[in-house]
């Protein structure tokens, strides 16, 4: 896949609730993009529109310039893996291995490729020791990794990860960073919906900030995190490092590394 475009997309749930309005968004394969914003801003709805679980009630979505209008959810989903916010909404097999192998098998991928894909997915997510376990014997954080492994094995062009860092600890978050980097380097488009601004600051160059059914700002991550007005509107909090940097008079710094390099390159204040 080369690119994805949302053109004036709105969605109204049956019953009349307008969840997103006039979304315009363009992204290319190989990009990693964070979607941030308050609860109820329309992030998950946008994700479901991209993978076809929901169909725009207005506007259209184009993949490589071709409208997805009229295509079935099954046809679109083949290209777009949506990893649910709640892994328990997604997991349905009795053991980790069956869960991971399910989609490529369903798509009738040849045996050799299936084996390769499953091996890669297991390796990337570090689930080897749990391969024969029932997913429900694993922690929430591990179950989330199972659903990500299943998406990797499906080998789509677009990944949408909904709150992947929820309940992950430091090691889990470091692992997720690696997974996202690897997928992007393979030319996949990785869209990550998250509230974890530290994770966004350290991992994503581009961020889309949503509030009240709209895209409020779509820009470089550092510009969004240091824009107090936008962060306030989206009910987001700046990261500790970026706050500290601003407090000290250094604007636009959002990572620990940049922060330390900057202050250590600076002169000390006279006491």
């Amino acid at each position: 896949m080369e690119n994805l475009e949302m053109r004036d997309v709105s969605f109204t749930y049956p019953g009349g609730y307008l969840a997103v309005e006039n979304i315009n968004f363009f992204a290319e394969g190989g990009e990693k993009i964070a979607f941030v914003g308050e609860n109820g801003a329309g992030k998950s709805t946008t994700a479901k529109l991209i993978n076809g679980l929901l169909k725009p009630t207005k506007g259209e979505i184009l993949i490589d310039g071709v409208s997805t209008k009229g295509k079935t959810t099954a046809a679109i989903a083949r290209n777009v893996a949506y990893v649910f916010q709640n892994p328990d909404d997604q997991i349905f097999r009795q053991d980790v291995f069956s869960e991971i192998i399910y989609t490529p098998k369903y798509f009738k991928v040849n045996e050799d490729d299936i084996r390769k894909r499953v091996k890669k997915a297991v390796k990337m997510t570090g689930l080897k020791t749990y391969i024969n376990e029932n997913p429900y014997n694993l922690s929430y954080a591990h179950r989330k990794l199972v659903t990500i492994a299943a998406a990797i094995a499906a080998d789509p062009d677009i990944f949408i990860l909904d709150e992947p860092t929820a309940c992950q600890d430091r090691r889990g978050i470091q692992l997720l960073s690696k997974i996202i980097d690897r997928l992007a380097s393979e030319g996949k488009l990785v869209i990550t919906i998250t509230h974890d601004m530290d994770f966004v600051a350290e991992n994503f160059d581009r961020t889309v900030c949503m509030a009240k059914k709209h895209i409020l700002m779509d820009d470089e991550t550092s510009k969004i995190i240091t824009n107090d007005a936008v962060m306030e509107k989206a009910s987001l909090k700046r990261t500790q490092v970026s706050l500290l940097a601003s407090e000290m008079g250094y604007d636009g710094i959002i990572t620990s590394e940049d922060f330390l390099d900057t202050i250590m390159g600076s002169r000390k204040c006279p006491v």
């Binding site: 328990d88 309940c167 600890d169 430091r170 500790q240 407090e247 250094y250 330390l260 204040c269």
Partner: protein, 293 residues
Amino acid sequence: MEVIRMNNLSYRYPTTEEYCLKNVSFSIQEGELCAIAGSNGCGKTTIGNIIRGLIPSFHGGEIEGTLEIFGKSSKEISADEKAKRIGFVFQNPFTQNSGIKETVFEEIAFGLENIGVGREEIITRVMDIIEMLKIESFMYKHPLELSGGYRQRVALASIIVQNPEIMVIDEPTSQLDPKGTEEVFEIIKLLNRQKKTIVLVEHKMELVAEYADHIIYLNEGTVLLDGTAEDVLANEILYKKNLEMPQVARLGFQAREKGLMIEKVPITMDGAVKIFAKYGKCVKDGGGSHGES
């Protein structure tokens, strides 16, 4: 007064061979906001389940050592009494929602109905909690239609309304946006001020640093550190072992590693601002020299 005491407790789930808690001992005082912190799989949630009594009564497994609550052995406290005096907010709100109530209001009232509280009192208590948690705008919505963050607030409300003496709260903000997270923590603080003992299972260390009086830090099923927020979160062992700690504390250790000899490792934003202030652009010192030239 000591309200919870665990002595040399070890526990293993029925389906696993390895013990997930090994010789865990600690004590929690009445009215404390005590955080159980640590990485995934270290046993935080298990401790919450043991205090509430879901282990071993529901999950089974093998348990050694002792647990005392309200000065009595946990075994001598009936399930009924535990349910009334110890509230438990599940990590995953999707697990906790009853699934049989059609509005948020009824969902919150469910626990009170079950123990036979009168209609008028139920309405008053539920409305008080709805106001306190700022969920008026969706009190007539179906609980299953809510987003993860809203469900989390409803789950918390359903327990607070029952007015338990101890509240065990398992990662209450995992699905909330940062503003919602802060609101929930303000509610927890408020409950704590009303003398509730709060056992908070949490791995967001920035929040723990800001709110907890006492931290029990677990690692691989044992107690690694036990003390005040300052003692625990600025401990170098956490940095060396690559474990969870507040972003500013990690920054403090990283700075030292790079040769910047800050006198103290901060654990909160305010602390960090004080400690790092002298490396700023001199904006704050009023000395006239503004910005780099």
